[in-house]
Amino acid sequence: MSVAIETPRSPRPVRRQRRFNFEKWGWIYMRASGVVLVVLIFGHLFVNLVAGQGVKAIDFGFVGGKLSQPFWQIWDTLLLWLALIHGANGMRTIVNDYASNRLVRRIFKGALIASTVLLLLLGTLVIYTFNPCPAGSPADLLPSFCAAP
């Protein structure tokens, strides 16, 4: 004779995860963007500070020249978006850790997302619309390499 006891302790029902788990994807984003950023940042530093004439080469013309090439436009766009979102997500976790007041947390996170979006839009705008020699500007405000109008 045997006594069957079916599931003496039935575990507490677990709420299934929502389809999109923000914390999980945030964590994955930090790892993935971190790897790419290592390449992008050191490439950026090498080209600006070491290659060619080194750090002395950096001036308005150098930056203007870089931003006129599609390669560096894409490089800088990736750098901007990945690094800014990486930093903002890091700030978000710090706010989660240290802002215990609900209202303060909301304010911090709101300010964080607003400044991140603003900087992303402004930065992207500058990368793709930067023109070192805008037409119709007074000649004394233009750098020397601009062709005379």
Binding site: R12, E23, G26, N96
Partner: protein, 251 residues
């Protein structure tokens, strides 16, 4: 032949050198004090003594109101985790001679859990999150015969079986200090112990529980927990393995 007895006579045990240790203990009596305060005690101890022996000596000979938990006093029960010189240690496993005795030894309760009295904290939130990960074998087969397991399968989770639930890791975690909702390292370690057990069938449930806002993703890999563990469990590694299992969706 006659002096063989003399030669074999046990040597007279050497006098164990003694020294004076100063302990500065964070005291708190909820019936009297508004805030915790530090109080120092001088005790004469010997080189074989542990911090727990010093606490005993204070309680038994100087101030009977000193309150702390200890049960087995030999590093197994996990009752006497406390912050010794700013690091979470078991008082019964910390030898005084290993500490810098030229300076006072600071002893206080573990952080992040509600302080009840002197070195005693309320452990309920700690055990609450421990219970939530279902730290028991979940198996549908009836226990009519042994559930066999190979040595390799057993070794997979060997490290996390060592946990004694002393809360040294969880109360050393900076995320836990500021966010009491975080499961904490100890709960994740005990989930790891069953998630990677080949006989267990509840891994998916536990992974779902830990794939939560307050689950494994709160871990910042600061390694405080690994440093604090008196059993030498690689806590941070265990948490990372659970993270990887959550990403895979299976152990």
């Amino acid at each position: 032949m006659s002096n063989a007895v003399l030669e074999n006579r046990p040597a007279v045990p050497e006098e164990i050198p003694t020294f004076t240790a100063t302990l500065i203990i964070r005291r708190f009596d909820p019936e009297v004090d508004e805030e915790p305060h530090w109080q120092d005690f001088d005790v004469v101890m010997s080189g074989t003594d542990r911090v727990l022996d010093a606490l005993h000596k204070i309680k038994w000979e100087q101030d009977g109101s000193l309150t702390f938990r200890r049960s087995c006093a030999h590093g197994v029960c996990g009752s006497d985790a406390m912050r010794i010189n700013g690091r979470n240690r078991l008082a019964c496993k910390t030898l005084l001679k290993d500490l810098d005795l030229s300076k006072p030894i600071y002893v206080e309760a573990i952080k992040g859990l509600p302080l009840e009295k002197d070195l005693i904290v309320n452990m309920d939130p700690f055990f609450e999150s421990y219970r939530e990960v279902q730290p028991f074998l979940v198996a549908s087969s009836k226990p009519e015969k042994e559930r066999l397991q190979s040595p390799v399968e057993r070794a997979r989770f060997d490290d996390t079986t060592k946990c004694i639930l002393c809360a040294a890791c969880t109360s050393s975690c900076p995320v836990f200090w500021t966010d009491g909702q975080y499961f904490g390292p100890a709960a994740i370690v005990n989930a790891h112990r069953f998630i990677f057990d080949s006989r267990d069938e509840g891994a998916q449930t536990r992974l779902d529980i830990l794939n939560d806002k307050e689950g494994v993703w709160r871990c910042r890999t600061t390694f405080n927990c690994t440093e604090a563990c008196p059993r030498g469990i690689q806590v941070t590694q265990a948490i990372a393995e659970v993270k990887a299992a959550v990403l895979r969706g299976r152990p």
